[in-house]
Structures are given as C-alpha cells and as structure tokens.
Amino acid sequence: MSRMDRWFAPEWAGGWTLCRWLYAGIGLSFHGPRIQWIADAYADHGFLFSRPPLNVPDWWIMSPASATVVWALGTLGLLLVLWGGRLTKPALVVWVICSTLLVAHEGLNWKAYDRLHAWVGLAMLLGPVSERGLSTKARSPAGRWMMLLIFCSLYGMTGWTKALVPGWWSGEVLAYHLVDMNFGHQPLGIWLSGIPWATKAMGIATVAFEGLFPFLIFSRRTNPWLLAVGTLFHLSLVVLMNVGPFSIITLCAYPVLLHPEAGQRLWARLRRARPA
C-alpha cells in the first residue's frame, strides 16, 4: 500500500449526514430573516460599503429586486442541501455564491459566522454529503481534513491570542464582554460578570479549550472528550452571550470532527439503545 493509499484510506462517514442537516437548518435560520431588510441592508446605494477582496459594491450594487433574487436562490440552495441527494453539491455552490454576494454588500462587518459557514461549506464540498445511508459507509477522509484545518485555525488563533492578553487569565476581559450592550447583556451573563472567581474560571477554561484544541483533536483518546467540552462551551455561549448562530454553526461540524472510530461506536450504541 502506497503512502497516498494510506492517507486516503476510507473512514466511517456517518457524521456527514448530521453535519449536512445542521448546516442547512442553521443556514436557513439566519439567511431567511434577511428578507425583512433586504432593501435597507443590501440595496441602499447611499449606505453600502465594500472591502477588498470582495469589493463587489464598487462595480455592482444590487437593486431590491436583484437582492431578493439572490436571497431566493440562496434559500433554494440551502433547501436542496437539506434534502440531500445528487443536487447537494451544486446546491451548496449556489448557496455559497449567493451568500458571498450578500456578505460582500456588508463590507462594514464580515461576521465570523458568515465566514465560518462558507468555510464549512467548502469542507462539505470535499466530503460525501450527496450520498444517503452514510452511517453504514466509509468514504475519503479529505473533507474531514479540511474541517480539521478550519477548526484548528479558528480555535488556535482565537485561543492563542487570548492567552497573550493578561486580562483573559484573570477573567476581566470576559466579564466586560458579558455586559456588552450588543454581544452580551443576557441575564445570566450579567449576573456572572459580577462574580470574579466565576469569570476567572470561565476565562481560564475558554483559553485552555481553544488553545489546546489544535493539539487534542488529533488524539483518538482525547478527541471525543474535547468535543464534549466544546459542545458545553458553545451551548453556554448561547445562554450567556448574543453571538447569533455562531455557536450552532460550529457545532454542526462536530459530527465530522469526531474521530470516525468513536463516531461509529457512538452510532452503534445509539442504534442498540433505540426502542424496537
């Protein structure tokens, strides 16, 4: 067996189905409401800003009608991704193009969840998302590599930079973000921000989880535990802060990031536990 064959040895692919459903579902949840203010946010010639390299509004600012068409095509793309089958990958490409066109008109703020959703879409293009019955199949690991790369970059960069900021270790930076008028200001977050030992513990846990992710994700032994901690971390973000769909987009990749052997074992256990 050549080295290339070893690298591309097929692995359990069941996680991709759950990833696809979550990806399309969460995409619809944040893309759908865009229609409410499509003219205000995407077609206002007086208040649109572009940013290279996606400076589309410099040469084309959408009209309300064309923005609505782009929105509708993106919605159709996501619905087809949710449905699955042969059209999944072409639909994914349509969705990424439409979403990118809309995001290009939001030059003031390229949101982390928009960027992450696009990156996860790229990983899905390399994965076996158009197939059904994946829980009993093994497929190429290429899509999973891309997903690992994206998430090692995501957690690594944010965790390592936080580790260099002294206020993160003391919990002070986190405490102040919990009372941010937009991203924070949730009842439980406000209460916790006034308890120094709690924000210190949460600050250290955040830096440790994010900073160690790129190392612990590759070990078969630590991988499931790391993702379990990550799930708790992101669900607590949903309760404590207002970060939009970011946490759920992150979680939609977890079934693919789970080590295939652990994923297969978990799936078998779930099947056994299912009532007949």
Partner: protein, 167 residues
Amino acid sequence: MTDARTTVPKLRLPVLCLVGLVGAYFALCMVLEFMEGPGKAKTLVGARSFGQWNMFTLKATWNKQLKAQAYQDGEWVSVDLPEMYKARWESGPRYQRPAFLRETPLTPLLAQSICQRMDPTPRAVRLYRVRWKRKLGEEQKSDRPEVTQLLEWPCSRRIRRPQGTIL
C-alpha cells in the same frame, strides 16, 4: 461496511494541494496576527478577513452608541436611527459600527445617508457618540454618559464614497 470508496487517484494530488493552500493561508493569517498584535492588523487587512478569528480578545470597558439630530423647521430634533436603519447584526445596528463611532472618512457618509433618508430633507445633521462605563454585575444604563459631537453636516453638501461612486 457496504462500501469503501475514497478519492480517485487522479484527484488525490489536487485535493492535497487545496488542503495545503488553505492551510498555508490560515498559517499566514496567524503569523501576521501574532506579528502585528490582535486588533492591530495593517498588512493584507482585507484578504486576511476570511482567516481572522479574533473573537472578544481585547478588553472593552465602555458601552457606545451613536445618536443623531437633524435641523428642521428652525430647531434640532432627534433622529430615530433604529427606525431609519432597521437592519441590525448581533454587534448592533449598521450605523453603530466602530467606523462611525469616531471621526473617520466614513462618518460624513452616514450623515449624508441620514439626510437622504429623511423626508423632508433637513438642512443639516449632527452626529454624536454617547458612551458610558460598563458596570460588572449590573444591567447597563446610560446614566451620566459622555457625549461627544462627531460631526455637523450640511445636507446640501455632496461627498464621494471612498471608491469614487457619487452617492
């Protein structure tokens, strides 16, 4: 297992190249981030945006809001910005991005946009930044805020967008 297919041999090298390219891009973003410091990006700022994952890294101890007044019928009246700009993100309304909360080349563009959206068009628009210290463990109320006037903009004046498109 009913099947065990993998990437066909002729596509393996292109796939590896793609993964390597994305990896190199993320590595470059990370190296530049560490060289220049979080929140201080200078090099390839736009191109790095896709691989930039700074989230809540730096301490922020102030809550900030943008307010506007318009000169109409001989007096300054408050402008209902949330009603005028309905689209908002998790980070707040579009007019409250950091680029508008201090004097930048974009601040007059917001003023001009307000002029255009108001009916009848006012004679002038004023923009203010209101900020107050965040208080830990409490709901954030803007008592005793610091108010700074950023700009007074006559609506008769025209301005070009940074890219050159006339508004």
